[in-house]
Structure formats: structure tokens, C-alpha cells
Amino acid sequence: MKDTIRRGAADFLNYKYLHGICVITIALSVFVISAFGLFLINAGDLMVSWKKGIRIIAYLEPGADEETRDLIIGEMETYPEVAGVEYVSSGEALDWLKEEIGRQTALLEGLTDNPLPDAVEVSLSGDIDGADAISSLAARMEGLDGVADVEYARKWIERFGGIYNLFRLTSMILIGLIVSAVMMIVANTIRLILYSRIDEIKITRIIGADDAFIKYPLYFEGMMLGFLGGLAGLVLLYAAFFITVPQLSSAGLLVYFQVRFLPWNLVLLILLISMTVGWIGCYFSIRRFLRF
């Protein structure tokens, strides 16, 4: 084991040019994937912030007392999909309606009697998923004692939900395709590097090395390549991130939400995956070269 690592490390230094190119390729690959991942994560955040803007209004039965109202509010606050519950009295509702209707307030000026009921407005947490979840939430709210009616922008939500699902699904397919394409690119690069070393491998075999003697240091090298490449790719992404984001901010594009970098666990996952790909690339390429 110690010996494997020693020989792997020695070889690693022995092929500076080849390994340099391989690390660069892996770094660029990791960069591409994680840049795309970063983009999707932030687009997802954006979607969540949109979802948080959704409101469901529950109209209370006329003349519902304070107790019923508190009960309803308390119940709604226990729903996991619900981020906040706010009581809107009929007076507030009328003011809001006037504002909504805008310039045609003339229409409502003649009213002396407020025909609107009291209501409870519910805002959603970001992790509710799809139009169905929202309509089932609405149905649950409607079933509560003291709730007369529930209203929300069903059409808009359905449309939005459709688009969001489309975006999420296509970007998942896309990232799947990109990740596999990039893994194959990395495997190809490792294959080319092993190809350049085929003479060395052949000679080592013919003076009596068994497969293990040849394979394990190469696996170690593959993992090192993956690790260094992954690290370099992430550093590159971090640099690009810290050059780009302040410029987006200063261009006034980031007023509605916060752009964030990849979370730590994803960074570790990427490193792990790039090490694994380095190893797998070696694993499958070597099989071909050990046939001699």
C-alpha cells in the first residue's frame, strides 16, 4: 500500500507534461459542470423566491368570533408548506381591493357598507412542489371549521408550476447529459495518457510485473489527477464567481435575491466524484492496456 502510493507519486512527477494536461482537462470539466450546477442552484433559488410570493386567502364565515379565527390560524401554522399566516380584516381587504383596482376606485367610492368578509392570508414556504400540492393545501384549508371559502391564483400557479417543472426536468436531463459527456471526456483523456505510457506498461509487464503491480499505482494516480483537477476546477469557479457576482450586483441585477456559491457538501461531493471519475477512467482504460 505504502509502496503503491510511493510508486504512484513518483510516476505522477515523472509525467509532468501529460499529467499537467490531464489536470487542466479535468479542471475545465469540473468547472463546466459546477458552473452549470451553480447556475441551476441559483435559478432554483429564484424559483423558490417566486413561490414564496404565492398567497392563499381563506375567507372566514361571516361573524366568526376571535376564538375560531385563532384556532384556524394556529391550525394553518402547523402545515409544513406554510411559511406565514396573516389575518386580514374586512376593512384592510377593502383598502387592498381599492389599491388593486387602481385608478377605477371611483367605482367603490359610493360604498358605505363593506361587503367583504374577514380573511386569513397564507404565504408559502419555498419547498412546496407543484400546482397539485398547492391545491391540496387549499382544499385542506377549505375543510377547516369557520372557513367559508379559499381563493388563490390557480391558473397562474398552474402555469408557473408547469414552467417550473419543465425547467427543472430539462435542466436535470441536461445536467445528466453534461455530466456523463464530461465524464467520458475525462475518461478519454486518461485513456490518451495511458496510451502515451503504453510502452512503459508493456515493458514493466514483460519483466515480470503482475497486474496488481501496474494497476494500483495507476489507480492512485488517477485519483490524484481527479482530486487535483477537481480542486483546480472549483477554485476556477470560485474565482469566476467572485469576479462576476459583484458586477451583477453593481449592474443592479441582484436586487430581488441573493446569489450564493455552491454549498460545502456539494463541493465535497464534486471532489469525491472527480476522484472517482479519475479512478474509473484509469480502471477501464487499464483493462484495455493489460491485454498485452
Binding site: 509502496d3 510508486r7 515523472n14 509525467y15 510502452d199 512503459e200 515493458i203 514493466t204 509487464r205 514483460i206 519483466i207 515480470g208 510485473a209 503482475d210 497486474d211 503491480f213
Partner: protein, 234 residues
């Protein structure tokens, strides 16, 4: 040619009716001979006769097309894949084209044989490698890389690598081709002294001078066939 009784204590190499075809080229045709333990055995013949091919069959770089061969107790026709490295580690091989690893120093090239054989002690490796490099006159170039060596120097390193593991059988494919007569003599003397310590030596050569020196047995190949009295090999 009768099949002789086989005594693994006595016979280190037995080829019986071995042929090797590369497509339409008949590199070896029905070659039959034995090499006894501690022989000093010559294989000679003109260019393209099949000498190197014969060597390659013995260390399994190539596989014979037909026939039957035993090397150091192992039946080459039936050997399992994982036994091949074991066989090779028992041999010391000088390749006609040297086969040195260009990215490794002379020292590491020679030391690799010991590493492959599982010797882990850095000191043992160092001592044995420097010792054998000293013998072939390359000790002062131990940290050079093969592409910076002259042809003869590379050949001497190749000989050193074949000898460093103290193998029981040395297969040397024209080990003195790139050497001047003095250096060739030095290498030959080295092989002679290994022989006197009990090693079996098989050399291919067309060096008239070497051929004039003593050997305990030889075959002459031509167009893949043994040429000897009444078509026999020895």
C-alpha cells in the same frame, strides 16, 4: 526426432515441434531442442531467421502457433494468465531493442526488476543495482535517462537489468550487437561468470567472435528452421 524422457531437474527448456506463424510469415517451423540446466547455449542464424521470435516464445511475448514447450518446469501451452508474471520473474531477459523505460533513470530501470520481484528494502535494491551497474561499467551514469545514453550504453544497462535479479535462466537477444569488441568481451565475461555460478544462459548472436568462444550447445536457425546434421537441431 524422438521425444526424449523429460527430467525437470536436468532440462530447463524443452521445445518440441514448435512452430510460429505470423500471417503468411513462417517465423519458426517445427523447432525441437532441449537446453539443460547450466548450459551456455547459442542460437545463431541470419537476419530474420527467427531467433528473436524463439526468445519471445520462451518469455511469452508471443504465443506459439503449435507445438509443446516447457520453460523451467512450466508448460507454456497450458500456463494460466496469472502464472506468466511468475515465469518472467524467474528469467533475466536482454531484449534486442533494449526496452528501457525512457522516463526512468538507469538506476530505476534496473531497480524495477527488484521491485517487481517484491524486494522492498531500499538498501538492498540500491546495493544490488549499483553493484550490477558497476559490473557493466555504467555505475557513473546511474542517474542518466536512457535517451541520453549511447547505443552501447543502453545495451549495457539492458544487460545489467537482466542480471540484477540473479535469475536462474538468462535469455539474451544479441546482447553485444551495439558494443565494440572490448565492451562485448566484458559483457561476455559477465555472462560466463554468471554461468559458472550455475545460471543457464541462452544467447542469440551472429557475432563471429562470440561464436568462436566456448559454449556447451548451440542451434543454427535459417528461415525458421533448424539446420543441423540430418535436419536435427543439435
Amino acid at each position: 526426432m524422438k521425444k526424449m524422457p523429460f527430467d525437470p531437474e536436468r532440462t530447463i527448456i524443452r521445445l518440441y515441434d514448435v512452430s510460429k506463424y505470423f500471417g503468411e510469415t513462417d517465423a519458426l517451423v517445427n523447432v525441437t531442442f532441449d537446453v539443460c540446466r547450466n548450459e551456455f547455449f547459442f542460437i545463431s542464424g541470419p537476419s530474420g531467421a527467427g531467433k528473436s521470435t524463439l526468445m519471445k516464445l520462451l518469455y511469452l511475448e508471443e504465443h506459439m502457433s503449435s507445438g509443446y514447450a516447457i520453460v523451467d518446469g512450466m508448460n507454456l501451452a497450458r500456463i494460466r494468465r496469472n502464472q506468466v508474471p511468475m515465469l518472467r520473474r524467474r528469467l533475466g531477459i536482454v531484449f534486442q531493442d533494449y526496452k528501457l523505460i525512457p522516463n526512468k533513470s538507469v538506476f530505476d530501470n534496473v531497480g524495477l526488476v527488484l521491485e517487481v520481484a517484491g524486494i522492498r528494502s531500499r538498501k538492498t535494491v540500491r546495493d544490488r543495482v549499483m553493484d550490477v551497474l558497476e559490473k557493466v561499467g555504467m555505475a557513473d551514469r546511474h542517474d542518466a535517462f536512457p535517451p541520453t545514453l549511447s547505443g552501447g550504453e543502453q545495451q549495457r544497462v539492458a544487460v545489467a537489468r537482466a542480471m540484477v535479479g540473479n535469475p536462474s535462466l538468462i535469455l539474451a537477444d544479441e546482447p553485444t550487437a551495439s558494443l565494440d569488441p572490448e565492451a562485448a568481451e566484458m559483457i561476455f565475461d559477465l555472462l560466463v561468470s554468471a554461468h559458472s555460478e550455475g545460471t543457464t544462459i541462452v544467447i542469440t548472436t551472429h557475432d563471429r567472435y562470440l561464436l568462436s568462444k566456448g559454449c556447451t550447445g548451440s542451434i543454427y536457425l535459417k528461415k525458421g528452421q533448424c539446420e543441423g546434421p540430418d535436419g536435427a537441431c543439435r
